[in-house]
Symmetry: C2
Subunit: 410 residues, 2 copies
């Protein structure tokens, strides 16, 4: 573990602490990390945040491929962190294992489902941590906890040894204390060489993304967006969803959220439904309600949602140049207060549909996204997100680093 | 079922026959299909070709997303087909469920692991069938059985409800009796509109791919390649691996095969290793030997293999224009005779390393690939493959259709 003023016990972030030494030497020498408990570490059970899951599955016999890559590059692994139950939540409150500490806003949830990983990083207990991100599970807790978070382009970091949730959207995410560490870990997992620092051609602020945010989040974004304009000048431009969507339905964020949720819920049922029906696990009430929603979905809708998804994906892909970025707030609202958990719903103006709308751009677009710990509102952290074209992860990581050096984030 | 001169029983292709009616109407009206037994059909166990797996897992409670798409587009599902054990073989001989018939070469194996799906199509029992393709499991049986086979770009057809084998390479594959049906099914699953027929800019014949093939396969390829030149003229060009590889190691096909196998084996151990260690299933001798190889892999090699994989991927991606194709034989050898099963090995000049070398181009490149039933050698079918850039699946399907209309394949 690292030296931190917050203890492991105080953080409530860890399920298990151990010491797994590096198997090689390289870009991550000297760094330590923790692993979300949906990712295999050899010899340990992968519990996926639910005791019945843990008890009905054998221990992992091999490290997940992504864990193997990090050890090989010189990092050491110090433990496994709490996941929201079956990774199906954005809050970070686990009915069985508790709520990891959000050290910058202790009365608020850390966000999930990579809650323990975000907390361990934010509490200064590790240099970085592995999470997963299907519908925001790395980006949202990064924003809530005031740390750096990265969701890679879909399909470019190995998912072997990571429990599937919704394969069309599943990714391995990274949470880190600094932009430099995040970039190094990203390059190791993507197996990319760093690219020369370069400015993006354009940075498109998505108007509807900022408009969807609460007033306090909008206000908190003013200064970092002003600095972004200082730094990139006229490359920063406003854009409306209608500019990037050939399809009329794509002009409304609600349609992005709905498209995403239908596919995600259908896939979650495929991945976990038979086990739940068979093992009849005890589930926390919020997660049980979420699975009920996924269960009730009329699967005949999925084909239409997949068609919309590919239309939106292609629109985005055609619109975005190789060196262009998109910019939105990471979340539309501050982290909810503990005990004040918003209900999951598929539509309306609640926390879940608005947050899903914001995170669905990355999911539907298969885009890489970083959340920068850029601002606070009333002392509560909130992140600003940059997204790049599918496959342009290294450009995104380089731009992130240069923004950090220009002190966009302090 | 369709009307065929070969009965379901004679084909030995099916595990279960049933009738699942369409849930909508569209491009696949009137067509019937079968589903490889690693893909979920609601109410049925997904047995993955192994009785212990079947008995230790609950029935599927939902159709896989890809099955749902096909039913919605008007097709009806008529049964589940035999998979090679745990989908980890290219042969098509299942120790427990037998060897589906290769109707064009009854003394030879159908190829696997989508053996039952290929056989059901080749026997004329269905219009098309779903398979999976991680390391050739759709392309190889398509070539062996003299039918059309398609592996999509990685990441563009939903894998929800499909048992994971090696997530970095797993895809849903399609086997079909005709180019027209294959293209229609492909467009439904990819949720793409047809593109206007267009000729590719260039068709690169990979010299080493043809050189790797046995003399009888090389000879069988002469006439179809001549017709390809007739049809596309000077767009058809020879290319050497060294032309498309920045990295020196990529100039040898052995390195492609090795890179692919290391990652595939590491991921297979992550996906299936804990279950095998815990459930101690009875395995057929060939598959047991294959898992032993996967088990013995030093996982510290994986990081280097992933680096090579991304180098090769990027070389290919940079080399291939949007409208360019690659061309290689689908397999370097004719389908092995029954009872003459080649051993799995990681190197040398045997069936597995040579076949893996040929199929690894698509896997490492994340490329879409079609195998065209283009020729016979001594009465035994053998396929020619075309590959397009990652994401250019619709172009590939259109070119395939136009080649069919020009009678390249008859």
């Amino acid at each position: 573990m690292k030296c931190s003023s917050i203890s492991v016990a105080q953080s409530s972030a860890f399920l298990t602490a151990f010491e797994l030494p590096p198997t090689g030497s390289g870009m991550l020498d000297g760094l330590c990390f923790a692993v979300k408990d949906v990712i295999d570490v050899a010899g340990w059970k992968t519990g996926c945040g639910n005791p019945t899951w843990r008890d009905s599955h054998p221990p992992a016999i091999a490290n997940a491929v992504c864990v193997e890559q990090l050890l090989r590059a010189g990092a050491r692994c110090v433990g496994k962190t709490i996941s929201d139950e079956l990774a199906f939540s954005l809050l970070g409150q686990n009915h069985f294992y508790g709520t990891p500490l959000n050290p910058q806003a202790a009365d608020r949830v850390p966000g999930g489902s990579s809650s323990g990983s975000a907390s361990a990083v934010a509490c200064g207990l590790v240099d970085f941590a592995l999470g997963t991100d299907t519908g925001g599970s790395t980006r949202v807790p990064a924003s809530n906890c005031g740390i750096w978070g990265f969701r890679p382009s879909h399909g470019f970091i190995s998912l072997a040894g990571v429990n599937p949730l919704a394969p069309s959207f599943d990714t391995v995410g990274i949470l880190a204390q600094s932009a430099d560490v995040l970039a190094r870990v990203g390059l190791v997992l993507l197996t990319c060489a760093p690219v020369p620092a370069s400015k993006p051609c354009k940075v498109h602020l998505i108007h509807e993304g900022f408009a969807l945010a609460d007033a306090d989040v909008q206000h908190a974004m003013l200064e970092p967006v002003r600095r972004l304009r200082d730094f990139f000048g006229e490359r920063v431009q406003e854009l409306s969803l209608r500019d990037l969507a050939a399809d009329k339905s794509a002009r409304s964020f609600a349609s992005w959220s709905d498209t995403f949720c239908v596919i995600q819920w259908a896939e979650i049922k495929s991945c976990l439904g038979a086990w739940i029906a068979d093992a009849k696990p005890e589930l926390g009430p919020d997660v049980a309600a979420s699975f009920e929603l996924a269960n009730q979905l009329d699967r005949r809708c999925v084909a239409e949602a997949l068609e919309r998804r590919e239309q939106y994906f292609r629109s985005l892909h055609d619109f975005l140049g190789l060196h262009d970025l998109l910019c939105i707030p990471t979340t539309p609202a501050l982290s909810p207060r503990k005990g004040d958990a918003p209900a999951r719903s598929s539509s309306g103006s609640g926390y879940y549909p608005r947050t899903s709308a914001m995170t669905s751009v990355g999911g539907i677009g298969r885009l890489p996204q970083v959340s920068l710990p850029v601002a606070h509102a009333g002392g509560v952290p909130v992140g600003l997100s940059l997204l790049a074209r599918h496959g342009q992860d290294t450009l995104l990581l380089e731009v992130m680093k240069s923004l950090d050096q220009q002190q966009l984030c302090h």
